[in-house]
Symmetry: C2
Subunit: 192 residues, 2 copies
């Protein structure tokens, strides 16, 4: 039933947009009762957010053998659901809702964002074990360095992002994360 609700939500977001979306429409399209929806999701916003994540968030991450390779694989994998039409409609509206709804924002931070940051922590840990980095950096910062530019391009600047741009973001994030790790773990003190 989860799958039917989330698929109906995605379809309707693409057809009518997030603002016009109602839980009634989703219930009708999915062939379920409204009560079934509200047992799973506290609000339209949560239902829609879960729907854009396609039921599995964050996507599984491969060990490619290098920090740059891991970041490139991650940004390509995240780009698919993030750039999908449903997400392009939905996320800007959710950004507005999160800013005005501290309870929803806390759930967002504790679930989706925390899970994404755990993925970055794993990538950084592998890079340190491998010797790609001299020591760890904050996973939340690494997350912002790679996915912040992507989210800003897609949802604030409203510009398309092609694979060449994804490759540039991975190259820049690998260099940025390496610079921060060098700065923190250098024996020669902090550069200016």
């Amino acid at each position: 039933m989860d799958h039917k609700i989330l698929r109906a939500t995605r379809e309707l977001v693409e057809e009518v947009g997030y603002q016009a979306l109602t839980v009634d429409q989703v219930a009708a399209r999915a062939g379920v009762g409204k009560a079934a929806i509200y047992r799973r999701y506290a609000s339209k916003a949560e239902m829609a957010f879960a729907a854009t994540a396609h039921g599995q968030w964050p996507p599984p991450l491969a060990d490619t053998g290098s920090l740059h390779g891991d970041l490139l694989a991650l940004v390509r994998t995240f780009h698919v659901p993030m750039a999908a039409p449903a997400a392009r409609h939905l996320v800007p509206a959710l950004i507005s809702e999160l800013a005005g709804n501290p309870e929803l924002d806390a759930r967002f931070q504790d679930t989706f964002l925390a899970a994404e940051q755990t993925g970055f922590a794993e990538i950084i840990e592998r890079a340190v074990s491998r010797g790609d980095l001299p020591g760890p950096v904050d996973p939340a910062t690494a997350h912002l360095l790679l996915l912040g530019p992507l989210a800003t391009a897609l949802y604030i600047h409203n510009v398309p992002v092609d694979d060449a741009m994804l490759a540039d973001l991975a190259t820049a994030a690998a260099a940025g994360i390496t610079a921060l790790a060098d700065q923190r773990h250098s024996d020669h003190g902090r550069p200016r």
Copy 2:
């Protein structure tokens, strides 16, 4: 009169939020007619956006003598209006409005965003002249690398950004821009 309208808008956004803000309230607070406001701004969204920019956008940029120094000065300067209470209230609502309003989005891209990217083009040109970079990189990409993580932290993750984080963003952006310039202008071809 511009100044009075923009100040009244900022005050009211902080007091009542962007959703509840009306042009009538701004007219009354500023002591001007609604017609005077609509001669200047096509919509509440444009008025509010101009107000958060504090009448001068982008802020003037100093030549600090290094790419890293220029990026650090820029991100510190931009952070002040971007993190102000009026902007924290307003920008998430504007993000939602831009996504659903192609005309407003085009104006945003042609004015504020283009002016910001011009600032990055100048910083990159200076870095190339100085020998900090082997050749130019796309200013729009450089803009995303430095300000994308900041905008994402402030407006999507809703987390505070302190000066240590601003310094990290400048360090990472300088390393990322340098890596992209090296890749594009290297005699040894593109790294994988």
